[in-house]
Amino acid sequence: MDYAPLTLVAVAAVSLAAGAFGGMLGVGGGIVLVPVMVGLLGIPLEEARSASLVSVIVTSLGSSLVYLKDGVTDLERAGPLQLPTVVGAVVGALLGTVLNGRIVATLFSILIFIVAWQMLVQRGSGTPSKVPGSIWMWAGFACVFGGILSSLLGVGGGLIFVPVMTLLFGTEQRVASATSAFLIGMTAATSALIYQMSGHLHPWLGVSSAGGIFLGAQVGARVSGMLSGRRLRVIFSFVMIATAFLLLNRVVRGDV
């Protein structure tokens, strides 16, 4: 499918806003991009999802440049979480061919409401020096699930990874956001690679969204340091609730 230059400019503009938002909160920005591209710009879900995954990669790389420089990213803890996210991404691509997207999106919306509520009521957090093995197991399962959702819906998976680190490990919000921003890059790359092989990745659509989101990610990562952990968590919770409504709207309209 060929796109009018105006459509590509609109995609770049939306990506710019989504990039700022994603870099600030450690999510990929795909949660904004996919609904807008499909719902407002009339782009097919398969191509919107693939372009969104490319912009998730750019958000991740752009944010990681800043976070790694500041030494905020917890690479040691990211390692054991990265493998299950990639496994999830591969499983998600397989499931995408057989599972009804409306069912997945509905379940996803419900999950977002629960996690957003938990983050809103959570008070204070400290980083435990030793994490019990059972928590690592649950974190692994959650990350596989995050990878599946990333691949199926074209989102980064930060919606799952950030709460996993803050709620299960007690990681500080900014460290969790930075580590999540790092994790989503590899997860989205695995999914994007699969979709690129399947011919669903439109070059100009991908470049437009990637260009816009890179600039936005730089802004978002810098602004994140100016906000307190509590405030960031509240913003994140409300963004998640808004995303859940957007997703449900897509389900009702039959866009998923």
Partner: protein, 82 residues
């Protein structure tokens, strides 16, 4: 995570983004730009894995390398059966 290790991991990020930007600006090379972008996180994860192993964080390091191996294997297969 020391500053040195963070700097090493930032190198492939910087080169990947620069390479993709350069390719995106040349007409007809947008596909190459996307390919560079898609493979950059794999390089970043590989460098991170090796760096962690070099500093005796074997669990985290091998986890990163295994994730990269899985993605590379998919690339060699040419995607998943559909």
């Amino acid at each position: 995570m020391s500053e040195l290790r963070g700097d090493i991991v930032r190198l492939p990020v910087f080169f990947g983004l620069s390479g993709a930007l350069l390719a995106a600006l040349i007409p007809g090379y947008q596909d190459l730009a996307l390919s560079i972008l898609v493979f950059t996180p794999l390089c970043v994860a590989a460098v991170t894995g090796v760096t962690l192993i070099a500093t005796k964080r074997y669990g985290s390091g091998f986890s990163f390398l295994l994730a990269v191996a899985m993605a590379v294997a998919i690339a060699f297969w040419g995607g998943l059966p559909r």
